[in-house]
Symmetry: C2
């Protein structure tokens, strides 16, 4: 992922993990949390939790506790979660369709506005999310000012879809196609290669 030099990607990842842990603890009735709680829930030491928080100006009370609601509010503001997080998907195959309906994304405030397919007819009846022809993707992204795109098309089509998304104004892309996309430096790209993750695991299992 490309980023400005000052931002520590690992710190942001931890902030997201803390936020998710706090959301779970809130559901369990927690009103206050301690850095030890968040360290335990995310697998880091408590001093790192406090250091990460203080980097973003979040301070606890004298006893080292944080008020859950206030902490969540501050983390959501830092992570830009107060705005509507709209995204589009290219490709409505197995993975794309699963993401369209994935509760895990809705829980985190993401709204998949539309999906785009080379053969959209077969999907429209089933889904709550509109599925349009891939040729209308650029216009839709421009018109609706979408900044996040998910690529779930076959490998051969991925680079072209990527280029079209960027041309239309997409700035962050989650790519499920198992290919190295050629991306300009100002575009953030995260690759999720499920088959490769399994291949890595398989290698380690065979070696152990």
């Amino acid at each position: 992922m490309k980023t400005n030099a000052a931002t520590n990607i690992n710190c942001i990842i931890r902030l997201i993990q803390y936020k998710n842990a706090i959301q779970r603890l809130k559901k369990l009735g927690f009103i206050k949390v301690f850095s030890d709680n968040l360290g335990d829930a995310t697998g880091v030491i408590s001093t790192l939790v406090r250091k990460d928080f203080s980097m973003f100006g979040i301070t606890g009370n004298k006893k080292g506790g944080y008020i859950v609601d206030s902490l969540l509010e501050q983390l959501n503001r830092i992570l830009g979660k107060e705005e509507v997080q709209k995204a589009v998907i290219a490709g409505a195959g197995k993975i794309g369709t699963a993401l369209m309906e994935y509760q895990g994304l809705r829980n985190e405030g993401f709204e998949i506005c539309a999906a785009f397919e080379i053969n959209p007819q077969k999907f429209n009846s089933e889904s709550r999310i509109p599925v349009y022809h891939i040729e209308s993707m650029q216009e839709y992204i421009e018109k609706n000012v979408i900044r996040l795109g998910i690529i779930a098309v076959p490998t051969d089509a991925a680079q072209q879809v990527f280029d079209t998304m960027i041309l239309a104004g997409i700035r962050g892309i989650l790519n499920f196609a198992p290919i190295q996309l050629k991306a300009p430096p100002e575009i953030a790209v995260s690759n999720v290669n499920i088959a490769m993750e399994l291949e890595k695991l398989w290698y380690y299992v065979k070696m152990s």
Copy 2:
């Protein structure tokens, strides 16, 4: 991911990427490839390709080329791809169901043998892959000597499913639940947190 100290995880990831690139080039009719080709396809410099290969005893011909079939054979042997790569899935929700039918896993030689669900009735009719009750998972894994597990259950159930899988003999786990699993050091775990990837991207898009 836990591993023995001598193995460089990044090198293994690159070997998998080279192998996938070679497979694509083979489909395009390539009989010979050069380290430059593989560097271009995977985004690394060609000297690193040659270094990675020589680390595993793979050598090219005098002109720096590699015969595609021989190279694929050697990489598949190193990566353990010559054996049947069986895996089970826990959780047949949106993500689990998508993975059951995901061509990208089959293309890489993975066979999803079965899925396990707390409510298996609703899935059996649709899928080619059997969906059993989660309570039969341990016995199935033991009986069929499965070593790879995929966790796609809700967050609250993930640790218990993980513990059961390990007890049954699973050694490598791909985890889609957005939670930090408590894992013994000999077990390889890869986490795929789709919502978190989008949250990271969103953060960078907001900052840029």
